[in-house]
Amino acid sequence: MTIDTFVQVCIGGLLIGGLYALVAFGLSLIYGVVRVLNFAHGTLLAVSGTAASIMFAAWQLHPALIAVVLVPVVFAFGYGFYSILLQPLARRSPFEATVGTVLVTVGALLILSDLTAKFAGATQRNIPLRFHTIEVGNIVFSTTQLYILLGIAALSIAMHLMLKRTWFGRAIRAVTQDSIGAQLCGVRSERLKAMTFAFGSSAAAVAGVLYVMSFPVDPYMGFGLTVKAFTIIVVGGIGNLPGALIAGTLLGVAEGLTGLFWKPEWASAISVILLLLILVAFPAGFAKRRR
């Protein structure tokens, strides 16, 4: 194996790892604020990716424009989903609420997958955009990959700034740390939870558009992504964007290197192995939660 091959594999790992991180961050934000394990989160990416692919095929829209169209739609969906289906469960006992949210989100996963398959077909779809490639020695990377990486970086910075510099971000962090304290300070906790759920869902929609530019999506792929996102959350820490980015990238590169040094069929399993190893070595994950 040459250094070129190693670098090539790392570039691929960075790309897919960054996408995992975006998915995980939305999920992490939702769990941090709303305390709901949204099993349908990855499916939202799949549905958004499918919608993006259809829009691209129909109108040849630029992916950035597709994202601009999809984000408010998915935001509204997320807001409505939380307000109508999940919020009423909060009035139940903790056990019933937990079981109820699992049932509702797993049910949403199944229904969204089947509805998408029914109306858009179960066939995999992607956005077959091909920009030119750049070659440095034996390393080849496409400018599509470069744009996606830039997109991931820009989104991460934007989300980081939003969490640190805006009232909404501060309110999210306040509710994450102490929901009752935040309410006493004037944060309308229930509305904020709905907004956070919707925001996290929109992040999945953007990730879906970026994902479908490089990899195919199908209505049934969401659960696998959600599991990877759970791994990243556990490793990177709840509501921690840099932690999610590090963990996501680590996972993506680890998958690539598993394929290179071992066998590609084990690449998908590495997330679980990695999770176990890191939990043994760093029981609190990479980033300790501040309280």
Binding site: G12, F215, D218, Y220, G259, P264, A267
Partner: protein, 403 residues
Amino acid sequence: MKISCLRFSAILGGICVALLATPAAATVGSCDDPITFGTTISETGPFSTLSDRWRKMTEAFADEINKSGGIMVKACNKRVPLKFVIYDDQSVPATAVALYQKMASVDKVDFFVGPDWSAIGGPVAPIADRHKIPMVMGNVATPSIYERGLKYVWGTPYPVVPRWSERYFEMLKHVTPKPHSIFFITHDNPVMKAITGYWSKKAEAQGIKVVGSETFSQELKDFTALISKVRAAKPDIIYISSFDGPSVPLVQQMRQLKVHASDIHHTMLTGSLFRQVGKDIEGMTGELSWYPGVKGDYGDLVERVMKESDVNMFDYIWTLGRLSSYLVMVQAIEKAGAIDREKVRAALYKGTFKAPAGDIVFDEHGFPNTGAFTIQMQNGAVKVVWPSDVATGKMIWPSPSWQ
């Protein structure tokens, strides 16, 4: 009061007895009722990409058969109409098992046809034996499923593993420059692994050195590592043994990472793959069980059925396997001359059955002898390039788009 209670119990008991005694569906084997074929189709779930239009196609098949009155049954001295009982197995083996149980005991179908995919055919097949209902499966290509000593199970997958790439490797003997090396990339699936296992041995026997073999899981999206290994091995042929969907990112990334070879061969070169990878598919070779225009028995019927149901062979490459299961069962009933499961079973054991791509003969396990044509994507169109006597285009070798 006691009397009314007794009367009520008697009436209730009578109703129960009557319900239990009354058949839920038509009498099996009757000349006065249509012959019912029970089947499931993966209309939803992961396999639905391969079969979501087959309900309409199945109904169109029944209409075509019934145009002439139905299936000729000698014992009835007339043609008996054909009727299908169709359920969606949702691509879930457990659902399929429950549905075949239901068709055997509640719907009381005469015969089973068509379950597809080894994942579903495997658990479903023993139900046929349990209820002694002959079953001709469609696209169940794993030989071990047939080698379990089942007495009521046959299958018509196209092509079967030992004949999958037979014509492709035959063609390789005639191309110039001759290929010397091959790299196998295999989707982690029983059928695809069986294909790689069988054809890697054949390649070696033919003097083509296997310079690498890698397996990938269905979930793998980043193929950079695998492609790096292929690039390092510099094979003349890259043989992708995979279902179409999981290999989409592989084909795209092979293009992006500028992989070179004389030929990229794909075991499932389909319309779905074409739509997803676009021009990246250019020059690749693959297999196709049959294509409209090739004259064979029932070819016109199959063409009409496909046209009526808007099914394209390149989009739904397993269509012939599915339709052949119907054709074989129809012929078996005609040969048996009776709507009798045991007589039909006997006919299936010893017959040669007609199909558009050639005669189907089963071995002692119910496994067929079906093959496929070699195709190549040329300027965005599918060309049959081998065997040369039925070719619609000339093989372009080495493929310029992969140089």
